[in-house]
């Protein structure tokens, strides 16, 4: 009764869009305040991220990372579980990819991709399953445990890379390179088949398609399968889920396995697709950006896809900005933070005036 209703399209399109525009406006003020030209900065960002196939390649590469981590957060949130351990799960996913590719023989990259996906998903899922179990059986809050598991994953990888997986004689805390013939096809190689020219220097690779597939699969799972029905029921109302005989343990475990698996699969993009070996801190904060992506995408797989593209654009555009202007790289983090702040924390600041506006327009009619 007390909720002011707004049309569905306004909820999913107008509110996030307004938030983003406000964040950009405030960013422009900040850029202007440090003595740079906001318009020039905007042009640079758009050109750098979207103005060339080189820019697009990087934008899509980053977006693929965020797509996986964003989906991971969104799936968990459908069951009202706040998985903020995407960072650690993606780190462990990288370990899974490395182990699969280094220690198993693969005849062809396509089979290796399948194997690496399974390895990444399994490691990520296992890393998320422990906090899930602890929440249901021990009452340890999943927000706390997943964030602690990020540190454990980082420390574990650190140890493994320095002491176990580092090739003899190497000074670099990284694994050996994966076999060259298992390198994933890059976007330009795939487009060449159709005769479309594309920059050869970008890391965007076939994982993008895997990500799109995952996006559709998540949607399908949530709204077309019995598991999805149970997940959404559990997330909407725990008493109703209990009434329906839905086991909290099972739903939590399934959701965390899927969520962790998705976060882990990010590793096929950055570890297998880009670096071709396991590096330290390969995730580079994508796990956390996934939270913002899910928030902005309203925890819907297709919303997550759009939000991932936006953050990919911000990432690449920001890098260009830092390269060509005196605007420091840190300012890009500020812009990203503003987007997160406006789309996430300040949601009601935008939503309530929009709801009022709709109420007024409705009253006029």
């Amino acid at each position: 009764m007390s909720t002011r209703r707004i049309p569905h399209w306004a909820d999913v399109v107008l509110v996030p869009l307004t938030s983003v525009l406000l964040a950009f406006a405030l960013s422009a003020v900040v850029i202007w305040a440090i003595g740079e030209d906001p318009w020039e900065a905007t042009v640079l960002m758009v050109q750098g991220a979207l103005g060339s196939s080189y820019g697009w390649g990087f934008t899509l590469y980053y977006a693929t990372n965020f797509l996986f981590t964003g989906l991971a957060v969104a799936v968990a949130f459908q069951a009202k579980l706040f998985n903020i351990g995407g960072e650690g799960q993606a780190t462990m996913g990288g370990l899974g990819v490395a182990l699969v590719l280094l220690y198993l023989p693969w005849p062809h990259w396509s089979l290796a991709l399948l194997g690496a996906s399974l390895g990444a998903a399994a490691f990520g899922a296992a890393w998320a399953a422990i906090p899930g179990y602890l929440q249901v059986r021990r009452g340890s809050h999943i927000v706390i445990t997943t964030i602690m598991f990020n540190f454990i994953a980082a420390a574990l990888l650190n140890y493994l890379l320095v002491s176990v997986m580092r090739p003899a004689g190497s000074m670099d805390p990284a694994s050996a390179r994966f076999p060259a013939e298992l390198r994933l096809p890059r976007i330009h190689e795939m487009l060449e088949v159709f005769g479309i020219p594309f920059s050869r220097a970008t890391p965007a690779n076939i994982t993008l398609l895997v990500g799109l597939l995952a996006c559709v699969a998540v949607w399908w799972m949530l709204w077309r399968t019995r598991l999805g029905y149970q997940i959404r029921t559990f997330g909407q109302s725990e008493p109703a889920a209990q009434y329906a005989g839905i086991s909290p343990l099972r739903v939590t475990m399934y959701v965390m396995l899927i969520s962790g698996g998705l976060a882990g699969m990010m590793a096929i993009n950055n570890v297998m697709g880009e670096a071709n070996r396991l590096l330290m801190n390969a995730v580079e904060g994508a796990g956390f950006i996934g939270i913002a992506v899910a928030l902005m995408g309203r925890n819907h797989p297709f919303g997550v896809l759009l939000a991932a593209l936006l953050f990919g654009f911000l990432y690449q555009g920001g890098a260009e900005l830092a390269l060509w202007t005196n605007i420091p790289r840190d300012l890009i983090v500020v812009i990203q933070a503003l987007v997160i702040l406006f789309t996430g924390a300040l949601d009601n600041m935008v939503r309530i005036p929009i709801a009022r506006a709709f109420a007024m327009v409705g009253a006029r009619r």
Binding site: M1, Y243, A244
Partner: protein
């Protein structure tokens, strides 16, 4: 009161030409109403008649599309509930707005704290509470936690909240929907006391008895329009009922005598201890036969909810139970809502909005709640057959006259009565061996009540067992073939409805056995 001739006190509330539409639905149409100061004014109408919308406009939750509000003769703009509170309006909602793990005092001052420190407000509230307790019988332990209070007491806290904010006009939305007859009587005593103090009270209800008992004047709403305002003394229940529904209604249920068959549910020594360590059920023995309705009467909070939940597999207890000879696990080890359904127990929960439905789900998604493993709703191990669920929902909605019969609306967009019909359809249409029903008509309009009662009786006539829990004694008397009265986690005794009356049951509900009370 400036600018008015002396002597003629302006009405406490006057609404002029209030209209409000939600999309194509006209919830309020040109409403005019005058409520005189120091009176109790009833607003009666079926669910969906627009009573709650009207009061939400008065309390600032909605803005009227047109029309004006006058408080004590002054034109007043009420854009939000803060403005309503400033105008001296207090609202007691049907669903309470209390912080469960706060004490009574903390809830009373919540949002109205004076200054940064709580102490002065708390002391003031404590004093006020003590005074109100003596003046009006508004007794509540100020330091008790809300979650430990009965529904009747929680409602008193809501009233106290309004009074603490110095409300002169008190709106109560279906206040007795959750109360027992004696609690309701107590509430009415409180309301009369407040009226005598000069407060103006608006009572929204669909119960004719309450209107007759406590109001001075009454307005009747039907389909968004105010069809009549009359002095209560000059009317009677038949006239009001007719005004409400626009046709004559039967306030009694037509049913044939039961023909009980073999015992379906047999419970022996059922005990339930809640998470606080309080024994809620202290050894319940009961039997329900095929083709009969066993009504459980009792003041809310005497273990009826726990009984329903334990039988429905939602709460662990100890004791033995069999369903048609097959043992039912009461310990919660191997049983949950799912296994109970599989063994033939259907459950219409007391709280349909929290348990019985997922409010954000479409009607068709709710049709599968609890039955989502049914092969008819699934294609193989993973996929659900959404089309089949939509088809079933459509059939249910037609059969149970759910309005509007559109499976693609979310549960929350239906009125209380229609939500209940959705739950009932889901649980009854599978023809369960035993139906557990809690408060089937709480917050449901008269037209729907009749329908729901008829469906429950039809199920009984089909040879199924029904266990009915209700705090509406009328309902228990009208539907039950046998009545068991619960008090403090025990069954005080059983009566046949034709061989007892509300007086005797009332005494038993208060913990006195029939003989002891004589």
């Amino acid at each position: 009161m400036q600018g008015r001739p002396a002597g003629a006190a302006p009405p406490a509330i006057e609404l002029r030409g209030i209209s409000k539409a939600f999309g194509p639905v006209q919830a309020n149409k040109d409403i005019h109403i005058r409520v005189e100061k120091g009176t109790i004014h009833g607003i009666i109408g079926e669910n969906g008649a627009g009573k709650s919308t009207l009061m939400s406009i008065l309390y600032g939750f909605y803005r009227a599309d047109s029309g004006e509000i006058l408080i004590n003769g002054q034109r007043t703009d009420i854009p939000d509930s803060q403005a309503a509170i400033r105008a001296g309006i207090g609202m007691v909602f049907q669903h309470f707005k209390l912080v469960q793990n706060f004490s009574v005092l903390e809830n009373v001052i919540l949002g109205a704290e004076a200054g940064r420190l709580l102490k002065p407000s708390v002391s003031r509230a404590r004093g006020l509470l003590k005074q109100l307790a003596t003046d009006f019988g508004l007794n509540v332990d100020p330091d008790a936690l809300i979650e430990d209070l009965s529904v009747g007491h929680q409602q008193r806290v809501e009233i106290l909240k309004a009074l603490y904010r110095e409300a002169d006009i008190l709106i109560l939305d279906e206040p007795t929907g959750v109360l027992t007859p004696s609690e309701a009587d107590h509430l009415f005593r409180i309301l009369r006391g407040l009226r005598d103090e000069g407060k103006t009270i608006i009572l929204i209800t669909h119960k004719l008895r309450e209107i007759m008992e406590v109001t001075e004047s009454v307005s009747v709403m039907r389909r968004g329009e105010m069809v009549a305002t009359v002095r209560t003394a000059e009317t009677g229940p038949p006239e009001l009922a007719e005004l409400m529904v626009g046709r004559k209604v039967l306030l009694r249920v037509n049913k044939r005598p039961a023909t009980p068959g073999p015992v379906v549910l047999d419970v022996k020594g059922l005990r339930v201890v809640d998470s606080m360590g309080v024994e809620r059920l202290r050894g319940i023995d009961l039997q329900v036969r095929a083709g009969e309705i066993l009504g459980i009467a009792g003041v809310a909070g005497n273990g009826q909810s726990e009984l329903l939940e334990a039988l429905a597999g939602l709460r662990a207890g100890e004791g033995e139970a069999t369903l048609a000879g097959q043992p039912l696990d009461m310990t919660g080890q191997t049983a949950d809502g799912q296994t109970r359904r599989a063994s033939g127990v259907a459950h219409v929960p007391e709280d349909r909005q929290r348990r019985g439905l997922v409010m954000d789900f479409f009607a068709w998604e709710n049709t599968a709640l609890g039955y989502h493993h049914d092969p008819a709703y699934n294609r193989g191990r993973f996929w659900m057959d959404n089309a089949a669920m939509i088809r079933t929902a459509q059939t249910y909605m037609t059969d149970f006259d759910v309005r509007p019969p559109n499976p693609a609306l979310t549960a929350e967009s239906f009125s209380g009565g229609n939500q209940q019909k959705l739950v009932l359809a889901r649980e009854i249409e599978r023809s369960p061996e035993l139906l557990l029903v809690g408060q089937p008509t709480r917050g449901v309009d008269i037209g729907a009540i009749e329908f729901i009662h008829q469906r429950i009786i039809d199920l009984r006539d089909a040879g199924k067992a029904v266990l009915l829990v209700s705090v509406e004694l009328d309902e228990i008397m009208a539907l039950s073939d046998r009545i068991a009265v619960m008090f403090d986690g025990r069954i005080m005794g059983e009566r046949l409805p034709e061989a007892t009356d509300e007086g005797e049951l009332g005494l038993m509900m208060a913990g006195m056995t029939g003989k002891g009370a004589a």
